[in-house]
Symmetry: C2
Subunit: 209 residues, 2 copies
């Protein structure tokens, strides 16, 4: 099982209707793989262009710099996970059922999208200032969605949590770290891991399940 | 609050009795900071030597390469956390008390030693093959200690866990990821975070606390 292509991780982006040329996707995919393998600083625009089967000059038609590629990857990755978290949090059912779905999907995303996940979570320091501000706001929104759902469960008497922010941090942290350790050799499928993590998190939040 | 110097993170190493020259510590410290900031691949031996206030030639007296520095940092960091996990797991008291101590100390270590923690956990792919084998064995030992303590608690009827390996992975993952997100601006001290994570993990394992 290999890591999921980025086009499947942020379905709002793929070309066609938004007229994004296929070459831009190849560059994003090549940048994700290069950054994940060598780190942002050790990757050159030439590395990325070569991996995408283009010349460096062709790369600059689409992106001004490797930082512009990182910014797009990071923003799109964070926007995709925020959308997933929002949809689960605002979905049908009681807080327990929504939290379960949130953790299942957040975990599965980070197992499937581990290559993107590594770039998105471990290269934040390399983002240009304006892109960092956008990403930091998206991260804060993710934490707030999780906190709000925990608080809703506490108010409803189905969660029992003393420090909501710490618990919310633990919930997102567990999911994010999956992108570090999950590999092709992992014996659990992304969905199995998601279901098991859903159980573990609900217990952590004091839900009687 | 700044990150703890490496000499405090693996107390078995500091010079004197083992005759390790002070210059070697300065190089290790400089390497940790450089790798954490720019990543291994983008760091040169000259960067490290300069940060340690030495010439590149002086660096080679102590270390053959930047990979040799990474190998020592990674092995020592993993050995230190394994020692901490072993001591807590083999300590006094019931499985619940020992697991609480294990999580508290593992979490506190990763908050305090976050700079080392980042290098140790996110630059594994850059290790030379022999060093990687050593580190992989240490990581497996950490997971096994945690799994064995969970199993002991299950047998004693104080933990309720269906997938011991997944639960053990979640326990170590929560602690390791602290080195990614914990910063100087975090409002919880490393010890407070440790105590709160201790509570959350015990609940996750089905302990009635």
């Amino acid at each position: 099982m290999t890591s999921t292509p980025i086009a499947d991780l942020w379905p709002s982006l793929p070309g066609g209707s938004d007229a994004r040329p296929e070459a831009a996707y190849r560059l994003l995919q090549a940048a994700v793989e290069s950054f994940a393998e060598r780190g942002f600083h050790a990757t050159t625009t030439r590395d990325i262009a070569t991996a995408a089967g283009m010349s460096p000059a062709a790369l600059y038609i689409h992106y001004q710099s490797k930082a512009a590629l990182l910014a797009e990857i990071s923003q799109a990755g964070h926007a995709a996970t925020l959308a997933l978290v929002r949809e689960a949090a605002a979905g049908e059912g009681e807080p327990v059922a929504r939290m379960r779905r949130l953790v299942e999907e957040f975990t599965t995303w980070h197992a499937r999208g581990r290559t993107v996940g590594r770039v998105v979570n471990y290269e934040l320091h390399a983002l240009p200032e304006d892109a960092y501000a956008v990403v930091a706001a998206l991260r804060l929104d993710i934490e707030r969605e999780v906190s709000a759902l925990i608080e809703e469960g506490v108010t409803a008497g189905v969660f029992d949590v003393s420090e909501v922010r710490t618990a919310a941090r633990a919930v997102t942290s567990l999911g994010i770290d999956v992108s570090r350790w999950y590999t092709d050799r992992s014996t659990e499928t992304p969905e199995e891991l998601g279901r098991r993590y859903g159980e573990l998190v609900l217990r952590m939040l004091g839900a009687r399940v």
